[in-house]
Symmetry: C4
Subunit: 243 residues, 4 copies
């Protein structure tokens, strides 16, 4: 069942230790087949060096396991909510990467201070609202997903343009069109958080931040119909002047 | 004598350099056989790449070497006290890992600022009381163990729920049900200290810290009779909804 | 066409990940053949582990692609301007290395605080003027090159003596007599930025900085007709006293 | 000539990149044969991966090259002065390791804040006096050695008990009984500087620092006639209680 997607999700999970985004088993990637309404996710608490594609667990959009001998990630209900709330996303990543967690612990957004950030995130990466006592005590992981979606709605943030969040006092969730792109976004967030931390210590929060037109330029250089970065975007060929 | 435990302690020691927790020979792991009242510990000042299981030294609960051609770790009297004072622990680790030592040098607890911390430590990891001049000059390593135990008693901290301490101006000791779990706790402490340092610089000590209910949720998600993280905990199976 | 230069530029590009200067594809190196008026540059958005010398793109000094099946780096117009404005340089590097980007994000020059800096950069590495809205919206990459050249002119900085800049809110460009030397300068800048960040936190910007005579000593120890560092400089032999 | 010492110095040099103490060629190790009055030092500006034992250069205590086809390190006159001024030392290391250089750039001693420091350095590692304009312009490297020796004399520091210095706005020199021990001290200094930086940010310079009795305990646990750490010290055997 979904053998190709299992391979894809497995490979995306294995990128996490290679990109220095996880310690021990503290991370998980999922990917969805929108036609079938099923997603594939890493099992809970399994070491990366023992993981195989066969260990992946298949879950439906109500959060029920439909295939898999192991228990799915304990964060499965969060993934379920996000796939339901964010209709365009095809993959989700959760890690405890240390720079992103530092911002989450401090309750501080990762601000847009440079083009590295703007290339991927069209604005600050928000810290979610804190979960209430009730939201934590019952259906915690499901409520985590709901609070993420609520935060994006309240703050008017487009989840496709800012594919990342810091769950308050917890850590990052990122997403994307595919599991691979969600992993890419997890790494960009970690690097951006590292750069921002040092920039904020050098200059202070009020004094710095990219202007809207620089954010526009860099974000749309890599996204949308006028993107011209790389080999495959719509305008890549025409942008390279040829005699 | 205790060949299996020697293998286990040897392997746990070899995890320290792999997890980037030691420079040179600055770390040691021990593990105890509670039935026999004997523990096995790394020899003093031996390079990790020359260490063999046979080099491990067997010590009794009075601190006497009962087997081993090499001298045991100079911290052996600290291990001896901790095994006597903390009846449930099966392994102990000491390192000079740099983030934990930074907090120990500053005399600052590693506070509970996020779920990474709460997953393992049920509250702040305390800095021990400083040792007095007398405690340092005579029976120093033994007194180190006594001061750790005293600090936990005075502050009302349960050593099984917070399996780590920062010895003032020195560095971390961690423990656990097995040598392996003590090593795991040593790594979590180092990562938590790194995250906390940056969070404190971003937001200040007074303003942040997880609420009790988030601490409860994450700690008990991984510990005790209602734990549901991973494949083996009591509630893991029932937590994964299956059709 | 320019096979030797393609090899040289390819190898210089492959140094970037080895020196920990790039994440993903965020970096590029070019090298010029001044006689032919052509430069060779990395293609846009290609993974380093898939890159081959044949993928290199040949561009003329008007910015037209004259050979190459792939699109050149999206930063090609910046390289074109720099080769036109800075007549002595033979290679250019752009990265998003994190310490340099932190200073660029904060809009703070990398000051000359130590001999590591002075050995390579004869004064602070400047942050460029910010690009205006108009400069960003149209011909952005070309204007990036123009603003770099303008910053050096306005501030009276000799680009051969300070072969590096931080583009405001973006990141570093470095250059040198060859692609290899430009890569070397990119690494020195990253290391100097790391050292400077910590020194500034320890002591404050106003209180520290090398005096002119120390800058002179170290810069000219490695550059110009009286250089005596290494095996090949003019004065190296005479500087080593021999009986 | 001095083939064994060349091997020893070569191996000690090769430890520097393995211990993450050098970037490019920015480091050198020497070792002395006190009986012959000759020392062996790395050649100037040679890549570590091309270095061979045969490349080592032999120098006398007047700083004259007596054997070697390559030019010796440009820092040779500093080594010469130190071997003359510090009669007990057998090896010297110079690096540009980033944490030590950060303290040197800020003009701040690396204070004794923890036992990691106290195990090796019997007090703060001093920043040298700055060199004057005259001292820099003429016989710079020789004067660097003289200023180091003068700083130790003025501040009453015993070079055998504190085998390291930070040359102001430059970087660390360390030494020891052998080239290997000098390399060991270079690594300890780098680690101690990293720990101290973070501790100082957490707690402030005035509030922290080990008391004299803790410094005594840890330093003499590893040094002198009562040392008991490791397998070879005088008291190691008697310290391990045996039934």
């Amino acid at each position: 069942m979904l053998e190709e997607l299992k391979q894809e999700v497995y490979k995306a999970n294995m990128q996490l230790p290679r990109l220095d985004l996880v310690t021990f088993t503290w991370g998980n990637v999922s990917g969805i087949d929108r036609d079938k309404g099923l997603f594939v996710i890493k099992p809970s608490g399994v070491d990366y060096d023992k993981l195989t594609p066969d260990d992946m667990v298949v879950v439906d959009l109500d959060g029920n396991v439909v295939e898999g001998k192991l228990n799915p990630s304990s964060d499965t209900p969060t993934h379920t909510v996000l796939y339901n709330k964010f209709p365009n996303i095809g993959g989700i990543v959760h890690t405890h990467s240390p720079w992103a967690v530092a911002f989450a612990s401090a309750g501080v957004d990762v601000p847009a201070l440079n083009t590295t950030h703007a290339d991927t995130f069209y604005g600050p990466v928000p810290v979610s609202d804190p979960l209430s006592k009730e939201e934590i005590e019952d259906a915690y992981e499901e409520n985590t997903g709901k609070v993420i979606a609520r935060t994006f709605k309240e703050r008017g943030i487009d989840e496709d343009a800012v594919p990342a969040v810091l769950v308050n006092q917890h850590g990052p969730f990122t997403w994307g069109a595919t599991p691979d792109k969600a992993v890419y976004n997890a790494k960009v967030l970690e690097v951006a958080a590292e750069m921002d931390y040092h920039a904020l210590q050098l200059a202070g929060h009020e004094q710095i931040g990219v202007p809207q037109y620089l954010l526009d330029k860099h974000y749309y250089r890599k996204h949308g119909k006028n993107a011209y970065y790389g080999q495959d975007n719509a305008q890549s060929q025409s942008h390279a002047k040829r005699k």
